[in-house]
Symmetry: D2
Subunit: 156 residues, 4 copies
């Protein structure tokens, strides 16, 4: 396998999950990471509803959908308090983590580790923990579904 191994998540607070999630614990499953900001129009209109659809559609499979709130601008406007209301109002039910900060860096840790270029970013990780897709901007449902179907079909 030549794809790079996904770095670990760094999350300061979780929503919609009783326990913190780590990619290490999810090894053997397929993981879809949806990195977003609650005030990013392309996330709200396209990426976040798509993540919710994937969470519902594949809930009885080996796919885990994880939202990551990667705030790299307007930090005071998108605090966890605001995010919590956003999650409630948009009825999001998949696990969502707040990307952690380190020192004074306005770019959060996981965002840097994955070298994301902005939001929304969709990352799909195979059962072996390797990054199989990383896309900035809108993803077509048909292409995303095909990728997930392909990775789920691989032997655990």
């Amino acid at each position: 396998m030549s794809a790079p191994l996904a770095p670990e998540l760094a999350v300061s607070r979780w929503f919609n999950t009783p326990v913190p999630l780590t990619l290490a614990d999810l090894r053997g499953r397929v993981v879809m990471l949806h990195a977003f900001q609650m005030l990013c129009p392309g996330c709200v209109s396209h990426g976040t509803p798509q993540a919710q659809r994937a969470h519902m559609l594949f809930r009885h499979t080996d796919l885990t959908v994880i939202g990551l709130h990667t705030v790299f601008e307007h930090h005071a406007a998108m605090t966890p308090v605001s995010l919590e209301a956003f999650i409630h109002e948009y009825r999001l039910t998949f696990p969502i983590g707040v990307d952690a900060y380190e020192g004074d860096d306005p770019i959060p840790v996981t965002m840097r580790r994955f070298r994301m270029r902005g939001t929304p970013t969709a990352i799909v990780i195979g059962r072996d923990g390797a990054i199989r897709h990383e896309g900035f901007g809108q993803e077509e449902d048909l292409a995303l579904g095909a990728l997930i179907g392909t990775l789920l079909a691989e032997k655990p």
Copy 2:
């Protein structure tokens, strides 16, 4: 004219306008009020873009479009700081006021004065200052356009 006269706005802070707006000063013009909350999904997907379209389409007419941020829930999540980022990210250019509070009432003042039932609410006021339409929820563009056209056609 039997329609009730619109009560005055009570706004604690304005965006996108160098001077505060009052309905008294706008008498003689047609006014469209778009009451919204930045975390209300129906506002973000429908009502707020519609207000922006109306602002652009009628900018050379006697119509004034005013946004009113009527936060009645999740107050800590929708502060003016968050609203400012929302306005920037969604590229809204029409004047937007933050509905003011009085005492401990979680329902802001203008919202109470107009007896609004929730967000989004669209209110259209004639040149004479009377409320000619107040609707909670989605408004069809065709119907809203017709109403504005009719009111603009009335003699100042």
Copy 3:
């Protein structure tokens, strides 16, 4: 009034009306003409549903919505038999006329009289019979509604 007077319709067959319609008979009313072809994608996805919406929304007003099937290409593919099935399947209820032909001209008569450039074309005619708007392509609902509202507000 400096706007040009609308030429008369030339229709070979009507659907959704017990009697033929003429602009002469409709003088005093506002008329919205929706010129379309049943195999024109922009008509089917936007213009024709918009005409149906206008027909329903303004059915208790002085507006008459008229569809005009102005076939200028693929004539054998868009016969009245096919149009009838189209009207049935898309549940169109406004009056629709088949634009008439003259000699060998592939461009039908009404289309030529109005100098239409293609489909969809939206034409709005005032109470005085003058053309107040003629637009090729997509019309915004908000702008169309405003125009209709303005013309309905004019004294008959």
Copy 4:
């Protein structure tokens, strides 16, 4: 494999392919059949554009997308002449066959063989020729993509 083997296509005329297609010849590939009628609103707005998207997205894979014009009503309105114009106007580029008739039966042969309930119907056939999915009505892109991805991942 317990899924039923797909019956063969019965097509009287092909568009967008230099040679007739048969499922027998396509054994070893994954096949998506999109059964539609050109005057079926749900086909035109959803199913047919989805088939075109799948054709484009998977064109370098082992998936073959086939359209099937299964006219079971308004026969005189949806002749091959009309279909040809439809294909041209909607810029469809995937192979499309006209489902054949037998005797006086208004239901065409392939439609009967697959026991389709109406249009649109999406059928997905595995590399082994077995029907792996048959759905009447709208299919979600995400689910369809996942199914195609899964079947493409199976060994030829």
